[in-house]
């Protein structure tokens, strides 16, 4: 996944995220192949950039459970609290994913 500002979008790029309006309505689904006709729409929605799929993408599902568990344990070892609600779990899972994707970088 790579973040691309709207000005640099090229035809054929594939969305790596679902774009939603502030009310939660789907504007463009994940996996949509972008063409130049989408750019004015993004501008109208005041979206400045989007996440695009790339060849070296790693998603949390591609990572082995072992790796995820290890990264999770490591993080919990530094924390004096445990995630209890959805947003805290999202924070924690994002950190696990980040740890695995960016390891050694």
């Amino acid at each position: 996944m790579a973040y691309v500002v709207v000005e640099e979008i090229k035809a054929g790029m594939v969305l790596a995220e679902t774009l939603r309006s502030d009310s939660g309505q789907v504007l463009m689904p994940e996996g949509l192949e972008l063409s130049m006709k989408h750019v004015p729409l993004l501008n109208r929605w005041k979206i400045k950039g989007v996440n695009i799929k790339s060849d070296d993408d790693v998603s949390i599902d591609d990572l082995s459970e072992d790796e995820q568990e290890q990264a999770g344990k490591y993080l919990l070892g530094k924390m004096t609290w445990k995630p209890i609600n959805d947003i805290e779990k999202d924070m924690f899972n994002t950190a696990v994913m980040h740890k695995l994707i960016y390891k050694g970088k």
């Binding site: 996944m1 790579a2 973040y3 500002v5 000005e7 995220e17 502030d22 939660g24 400045k48 950039g49 996440n51 993080l75 530094k78 924390m79 004096t80 609290w81 609600n85 959805d86 947003i87 805290e88 779990k89 999202d90 924070m91 924690f92 899972n93 994002t94 950190a95 994913m97 980040h98 740890k99 960016y102």
Partner: protein, 281 residues
């Protein structure tokens, strides 16, 4: 305690902010201030004006490459934001001589601070807060107290960080034990001496508490959460080996979508890397 008196004295004796910032304050106190007035002051120092433009054109403001003059920066990102950028650049400059110790490199501390600024601005943006001014820069400057300690009492501070690491104690607790004062309060005292806006003093002082006088405060709450997220992501280094606790009171008022971080963290990392490269040089 002798050390606490020593710290208070060092805050007292700490250099004042550069004249460009005080001049900006004077100019902006006028009710009829124009973008050109601000531009005139900032442009007196060509080097810092060039840096202000770089920051204003960084992805965080979403205006990449569109701003070519300080006047435009004022129009697009706001009077106060331009003043805040000048403030941040001045403070970065003032702490340039801080030396690395065995546990914390000030460059890493700045990187962590930039991450906090980037995450704060992104959260505020997602929450559709009308006035986004301040979230980025106050996020960057929240750790002023730690910088103050690193600069004024480097040897003692290295010991404090060691104690914190060995005993798995939050750094501010170790500071209280050794110094009798912790960095949020010391940082706020320095901010007060510099007459920085009340808003940033609130952030510096209440960072770990997450609220102000037990009430929800948008700016403090969001920056509080952002410091925790930056620590979890290990972007740069806060000097703390413990990820701080969330004040869960904030969830009553802060309605972040439950997939916000998953969906936005690549964008935030991108902005973080960009701003770190820009301001670390």
């Amino acid at each position: 305690m002798k050390l606490i008196n020593n710290i208070i004295l060092k805050i007292d004796e700490f250099p004042t902010l550069p004249t460009v910032y005080t001049k900006l304050n004077e100019v902006m106190a006028h009710p009829n201030v124009s973008a050109k007035d601000v531009a005139d002051v900032v442009s007196q120092d060509q080097a810092s004006a060039a840096k202000v433009l770089k920051v204003a054109n960084s992805p965080i403001y979403g205006l990449i490459g569109k701003i070519s003059t300080i006047s435009q920066a004022v129009v697009y990102i706001g009077f106060n934001e331009v003043k805040s950028i000048v403030l941040a650049l001045s403070i970065i400059e003032m702490f340039k001589d801080v030396k690395s110790n065995s546990l914390l490199d000030p460059k890493d501390f700045w990187r962590y601070s930039f991450a906090v600024g980037v995450i704060s601005r992104n959260i505020a943006n997602r929450l559709q807060i009308k006035n986004l001014e301040g979230f980025f820069i106050n996020g960057i400057l929240h750790g002023l107290g730690k910088l103050l300690f690193l600069k004024t009492i480097p040897d003692i501070y290295e010991k404090i960080l060691t104690v914190s690491k060995e005993k798995k104690l939050p750094v501010r607790k170790a500071e209280e034990k050794v110094l009798g004062i912790s960095h949020p309060l010391a940082g706020q005292m320095l901010a007060e001496k510099w007459r920085l806006p009340k808003e940033i003093q609130n952030v510096i002082k209440n960072l770990y508490i997450g609220t102000v006088n037990d009430r929800y405060n948008e700016m403090v709450g969001i920056i509080h959460l952002s410091t925790i997220m930056a620590s979890l992501l290990e972007l740069g280094s806060s000097g703390d080996f413990v990820v701080p606790k969330i004040n869960r009171q904030i969830w009553n008022d802060m309605k972040i979508p439950e997939d916000f971080f998953t969906n936005n963290y690549q964008k935030m990392v991108h902005e973080y890397q960009d701003i770190s490269n820009l301001l670390s040089s």
